[in-house]
């Protein structure tokens, strides 16, 4: 894992003291809320439905056990004993006091964490593949490149006041586990025929009120020009992005309105200019970062044998664990979606347990996934049964990764001031209604957003649900056919919306259509793509 150098630490520490002074001035009345609001947002502090909410950055979703333990400590000391892991691999606390915020940031800084880049019209926290460094199918570990982007983008003076927020993701596998093409810039690290590493740039994706799948504008940028090319993409956006209309200000609108070819032409022209300026970080810096992401000390010859005599354990292994690049090891997803639970929430005790398990069984590492789960990336198979028993005893052993109970849900109207409808109760009801059919249904990614901003990624759900406000009453639209992977597609609305109970019935009917019409080996998404919308509409509205 990356360790702060003296510059990183000095920057974060200085930021804490700067914010401490800003809070003091606000509480003493020297600055107004209008003056203070952009300052607190630059430190991840929102004013939400019930209280201040602090969003803490987890760069590319990677945490040490000490960092995870600190998240549990903060949940207990400053919040109400829990935290909410988000769809951008961060964590949010819902009950923060303004007067405590500087101390929280100081505690975070003590373990090399912060809340920078979690709000505002800047380049936000960069996300990545939760199995980075463990996945058997990656061409290279993407985290050093994500870290390089973090260092380049943090406090970048030219990109601190963009037309709108800007999200980047970096992956290094053909299997996209980070919704890469639904980002403002998605980078896929690839190798060419000569074995050289490069970056394929996908620009102009996103969800929200105008969902777009990012087109590839350059399939191979040499890796020692990745930052320069990113800067060119941002410069064109910063120059021409729509600052006059918040709803048309994201880069996806610019790319769409200019057209991919014209946007690319302008980026290439800017790129050619920037190459003369020498802005790319020296390769020595990349190598310094890469050295900190070296493989842990895997045990050579570790056994691949697993005792599968416990059927519950065997189901969990088959569902929640994925193959590791190192023989004898496995990557484990800890589901934060117990049946009927609140997606993404974890108690302070659960957070501490996961930290301890990472320390003891995963070389001190954890990952937060964009699907609001936690990964222990490097678990020796010989340790797996004991680890699962501890997880299961703590309510963390649910076997439902990518199943119907593994629902992505934004905080919705229960917590969020932007939301139009509640998301969490819908997720809970669907989970309770259908989890006993989880294995029969198989892979089905269900995603719920409480408003058009799409924090719950409803456009990318095999089944998506969008909560809307119809004359002061919650209403839910159903979408089918979305996907975030290599074959990214956007869900289509089935028709008129439903009330809270009606949407649960509608999801059940959609699964029944699938179960009655699927062919061998088909997932829900495959069946939908084969038979189309009509049979589902007939079942829902006929």
């Amino acid at each position: 894992m990356y360790k702060y150098d003296t510059y990183d630490q000095a920057m974060v520490d200085a930021r804490v003291e700067e914010f401490r002074d800003q809070v003091k001035r606000r509480l003493e009345g020297h600055i107004t809320e209008d003056q203070f609001k952009p300052l607190r947002l630059m430190n991840g502090l929102y004013l939400q439905l019930h209280a201040y909410m602090l969003r803490v950055a987890v760069p590319y979703g990677t945490l040490s056990s000490a960092q995870m333990r600190m998240l549990g400590y903060i949940a207990d000391k400053y919040d109400r004993g829990y935290g909410h892991f988000t769809t951008r691999q961060n964590i949010q606390y819902n009950w923060i006091k303004l007067e405590d915020a500087p101390d929280i940031l100081a505690d975070l800084a003590s373990v090399e964490m912060h809340a920078i880049q979690t709000s505002g019209n800047c380049i936000r926290n960069t996300t990545s593949d939760q199995y980075a460094g463990a996945a058997a199918d990656e061409v290279i570990d993407p985290r050093p490149y994500a870290e390089l982007i973090r260092q380049w983008s943090t406090f970048h003076p030219e990109f601190s006041f963009l037309p709108r927020k800007f999200k980047m993701a970096v992956i290094a596998s053909d299997t996209d586990r980070a919704a890469m093409r639904l980002h403002d810039i998605g980078i896929q690290l690839v190798k060419n025929d000569a074995g050289e590493v490069g970056a394929a740039f996908y620009v102009g994706g996103g969800m929200g009120r105008t969902p777009m799948v990012a087109p590839c504008i350059n399939p191979f940028v040499p890796i020692d020009q990745m930052i320069t090319y990113s800067e060119a993409c941002l410069r064109v956006y910063n120059r021409y992005g729509r600052r006059d209309n918040k709803y048309k200000a994201r880069i996806k609108i610019l790319v769409h309105e200019l057209g991919k070819d014209e946007y690319t032409r302008q980026v290439e022209a800017e790129f050619a200019h920037l190459l003369t300026q020498g802005i790319e970080p020296p390769l020595a810096e990349l190598h310094r970062i890469q050295a900190q992401f070296a493989d842990p000390a895997f045990e050579a010859g570790a056994s691949d044998d697993l005792d599968r005599s416990d059927p519950d354990f065997a189901l969990w292994v088959d569902t929640n664990c994925v193959v590791h690049k190192q023989p004898g090891y496995i990557a484990v997803t800890i589901s934060l979606k117990p049946v009927g639970g609140i997606p993404g929430d974890a108690s302070a005790d659960q957070i501490r347990l996961m930290a301890d398990l990472a320390r003891d069984h995963s070389f001190d590492e954890l990952r937060v996934t964009h699907a609001q789960n936690i990964v222990l990336p490097h678990v020796k198979k010989a340790d797996l049964y004991g680890l699962w028993q501890q997880l299961d005893a703590a309510g963390l052993g649910t076997a439902n990764l990518d199943r119907i109970g593994d629902i992505i849900a934004c905080p919705g109207l229960d917590y969020c001031s932007l939301a139009n409808a509640r998301s969490i109760p819908v997720a809970q009801k669907i989970s309770e209604r259908l989890s006993d059919r989880s294995e029969a249904i198989g892979e089905l990614k269900l995603k719920i957003s409480g408003c058009i901003n799409a924090c719950g990624h409803h456009h990318a759900g095999h089944i998506g649900i969008l909560g809307v406000d119809r004359k002061g009453v919650e209403n839910y639209q159903l979408l089918l056919g979305g996907c975030e992977g290599a074959d990214t597609s956007l869900g289509q609305i089935t028709g008129p919306g439903f009330d809270e109970d009606g949407i649960v019935d509608a999801v059940e009917k959609a699964t029944e259509v699938y179960l009655s019409t699927r062919q061998d080996g088909e997932r829900f998404l495959d069946t939908y793509r084969r038979i189309g919308m009509a049979p589902f509409k007939e079942a829902l509205y006929g």
């Binding site: 019930h50 209280a51 007067e99 229960d414 109760p425 919650e474």
Partner: protein, 98 residues
């Protein structure tokens, strides 16, 4: 009726204007009639409330009820964590929101 709501500057807690000060309990809220802007300007300037605004509400037998579900959730707390609401001992409290 029009009632006023905001957040406590230090704690962020949701508060309601009771005619004299800011209360945690929506039952205490009073109709401010046409005086919303005057009260909001005075109270915000004195930092007794933050990000305050007026909302529609009705006076019902059991007390003041904001017109919109968002304000009712603000008044009670998250419907999915009744233990964190202002009425943790009342399992039926959530029905007031819906």
């Amino acid at each position: 009726m029009k009632i006023l709501t905001g957040n406590d500057l230090k704690t962020g807690a949701v508060t309601w204007w009771d005619g004299v000060q800011w209360s945690l309990h929506v039952e205490d809220a009073v109709d401010v009639g046409d005086h919303a802007d005057t009260i909001l300007a005075r109270e915000s300037a004195a930092r007794r409330v933050n990000a305050a605004y007026a909302v529609d509400a009705t006076k019902e037998p059991e007390g003041v009820r904001p017109a919109h579900i968002k304000e009712r959730i603000r008044a009670l707390g998250p419907t999915v964590r009744m233990d964190l609401t202002l009425k943790p001992a009342d399992p039926e409290a959530g029905t007031w929101v819906i």
